[in-house]
Amino acid sequence: MDIPFNVKERPDTGLYNGKLGIWLFLASEVMLFGGLFSAYIFLRTGVDNWPAGTEYLDVRLATLNTLFLISSSVTMVMSWASLKLNDFKKFKFYSGTTLLFAFGFLVIKYFEYSAKFSHVPPYLPSTNNFLGIYFTMTGLHVLHVIGGIVVIGYYFGPGSKMWKADPERFTNRIEIVGLYWHFVDLVWIFLFPVLYLL
């Protein structure tokens, strides 16, 4: 007994279940980050002095990180496209590259965070609300990146066995992971200007 439209698309909606599921999940994620962005606006407009991002943050590192994430989004699409073209080797290559970019993002984020903590006097979430919202939003984003790495890593490694058994299903899974990964990328595209540049 299999659930209908688990792998194949339902004709009248044009979607398989997982794809619709991930879109709805992302809608909810939009509301989550939307809530935090609204909080940012609320806090910023509520005070007279709001520091410029450059006072505390390193724009160069963040630019590099932006490039990393955008590139990882591209390689993510390529890995899915490779599966569509039946090229499992290329999938492995692109999927692995995605992972490398994602790890690169985390490494840079680690240096950014530790620079804040080791600064004299230390820049902590409790120092002021700018740093508070910076750590909260980027921290939540980093959790999303880690979540992405776990899932991409799973399908790069042990999960890729599914390719032999059920290639269509595996391709769908990669498409779903990709949609999530693009969202994580997109959140950063908003976080970068809002926190570092404005």
Binding site: I3, R10, E29
Partner: protein
């Protein structure tokens, strides 16, 4: 998924099940237990309100040194009563239990779209609910800043508040998984012929509820994260500059308590419709079935409910007129609040008109559904003065507000849920409930519900504030109405006693013999007509039905029976 027919152990069949019916029953039993627990909390609190400062019989020694309820514990119990009733009781029962069990059956699906996620959603809910009550055992007791958890009070509250926040994060995750599941199931797994305008109203209400949960809960999660940061890391998102608290701080300041209120009510107003929409759905099914005629204005109902769903996202600040957020914003939210009352009236009118000319069967589910209509009506109409800033200045934070929302949720939604339990009990078990006990349950509950909540309007109009552990006995303006507390308390206890009819009825009925009828109510929807009662195991249908008709084709002229199943050609 394809476990076939091989033998399953008790654990895989009933505990770690991925069958939507079992998960629905798990939700149902758990949430009913929490409802009872929440009721016990309020029964203890009501003793303190009726007889302030006197030792509580039997359990008093557990609560305080002199046997009376200490104010701190009163606060904890109040906050937890609200939290438990809403997040652990009514929503999981209305959405988790009814939605899980019935939506796949009513749309002709063999299960939910994601059975494993479904089980995960239940277990995360279970874990979250346990975390919530663990709060009672941490130093300082459970969360004590009200179910709304307004800062700065909640920021400086005892550890129980942190536990509350972790519990909320779990419950939000659970409801996220549950709502995605219901949405995908309704969109993707409708059987052949089950077009949108042939869906039973119950499915529509679950569908819209799922959207509200999906989109309204995340901002509360954001708020919860911010409050956790405030409490654990020392940020000041909700702490204004210059705030001095004895024994706390220093706070960097620069934040705003209003931020929490906005994020909280952005969830908590749609939450009201999460509570009421499934109730509309259940009542509609029961009324159509027991008047033996089609629902009046099916399409009006559907569009009114969709509109209600949309509007519920832009009325939240009517809870905040007295916060100093500004009259311009107030004017906007007064307008939207008046507008959102229109679809509610459309729905209630459609249900009332559906009674017109029907040959009504007054069985237990129908009595509860009929009781719902005026009770929800009172709840809704008493909300209008609260939606207007000028009247709200007087009524805000009084017992009037408590009376208002309890009329919506307690004799409103909970009556509808009882109607649903009595109506679908034969579906779940293949057995009938006892009509005599059911009617006793209804009439006694109806009387005592009003006994509890009607005097609240009188007290509130007299200006009696809520959340006072002595019931307001030190306030001069309360002197004229405070004697009502005793009457309300006794009504509340009798209301508790009245629920014994329900519990005994359930036990007796569960022990009775199966009737062998699969469609005892002669209903039209495919959950009754195309499956046995109780339904087959995993898979629901012998053959998945095709749908040809609308959901409420009762008493169609020139047909043999007075009900024409959705799956019947013609």
């Amino acid at each position: 998924m394809s476990e076939g027919n091989h033998k399953q152990s008790f654990w895989t069949k009933y505990i770690w099940s991925t069958d939507h019916k079992i998960i629905g029953i798990q939700y149902g039993i758990t949430s009913l237990a929490w409802l009872l627990f929440g009721f016990v909390l309020i029964s203890i609190m009501r003793y303190q309100l009726a007889y302030p400062g006197t030792p509580i019989p039997l359990i008093g020694s557990l609560l305080g040194p002199d046997g009376a309820l200490p104010p701190e514990t009163y606060n904890s119990m109040g906050a937890m009563h609200g939290t438990i009733m809403i997040f652990l009781g009514v929503v999981p029962l209305a959405f988790g239990a009814f939605g899980n069990y019935l939506v796949p059956l009513q749309i002709g699906a063999i299960d939910m779209a994601f059975p494993k996620l479904n089980a995960a959603s239940y277990w995360i809910y279970f874990l979250g609910s346990v975390i919530m009550v663990v709060g009672f055992f941490v130093p300082g007791g459970a969360a004590n800043s009200g179910w709304t958890s307004y800062p700065p009070l909640s920021n400086i509250a005892t550890t129980g508040q942190t536990v509350w926040l972790w519990g909320m994060v779990m419950l939000i995750t659970s409801s996220l998984l549950g709502s995605v599941n219901i949405l995908v199931t309704v969109i993707q797994l409708r059987t052949d012929g089950m077009t949108w305008m042939k869906l039973p109203i119950f499915v529509w209400t679950q569908f819209i509820t799922a959207f509200l949960l999906l989109l309204a809960f995340p901002p509360l999660e954001a708020a919860g994260i911010l409050q956790l940061m405030d409490r654990l890391v020392g940020t000041s998102f909700f702490m204004p500059s210059g705030l001095v608290v004895s024994g706390g701080g220093p706070y960097a300041g620069g934040g705003s308590p209003l931020l929490w209120q906005h994020l909280f009510w952005f969830l908590a107003h749609p939450e009201v419709y999460v509570l009421i929409l499934p109730a509309f759905g259940i009542v509609t099914e029961v009324i159509a079935n027991n008047t033996r005629k089609p629902i009046k204005g099916y399409k009006s109902l559907v569009y009114a409910m969709i509109f209600l769903g949309f509007m519920s996202f832009i009325v939240w600040a009517h809870h905040m007129y007295l916060t100093g957020m500004g009259t311009t914003i107030g004017a906007f939210f007064q307008t939207t609040t008046m507008i959102i009352s229109i679809p509610s009236v459309v729905i209630l009118t459609a249900l009332l008109l559906s009674l017109w000319g029907g040959s009504i069967r007054f069985n237990t589910p129908m009595l509860f559904a009929l009781g719902f209509l005026p009770m929800f009506g009172i709840g809704g109409l008493t909300g209008l003065p609260l939606g207007l800033a000028a009247a709200d200045i007087h009524l805000h934070d009084t017992y009037y507000v408590i009376g208002h929302f309890h009329y919506v949720v307690a004799p409103g939604t909970i009556f509808a849920l009882f109607a649903g339990i009595y109506y679908w009990f034969p579906k779940l078990t293949g057995k009938r409930t006892n009509e005599m006990l059911g009617k006793l349950h209804f009439y006694s509950s109806f009387i005592f519900m009003n006994g509890v909540f009607m005097p609240m309007f009188i007290q509130g109009l007299a200006g009696l504030s809520r959340r006072m552990n002595d019931g307001g006995e030190t306030y001069a303006h309360a002197a004229g109405v405070i004697h009502l507390n005793e009457f309300m308390t006794i009504s509340a206890w009798l209301l508790g006693v009245a629920q014994l009819f329900f519990i005994v009825n359930m036990i007796i009925s569960l022990r009775s013999k199966k009737t062998g009828e699969s469609n005892p109510w002669n209903a039209t929807t495919i959950d009754w007509t195309d499956t046995t009662s109780p339904p087959l195991g995993h898979g629901n249908f012998e053959t998945v039905p095709t749908v040809y008709r609308g959901p409420y084709e009762y008493s169609v002229p020139n047909e043999k029976n007075d009900f024409s199943p959705q799956s019947q050609k013609g």
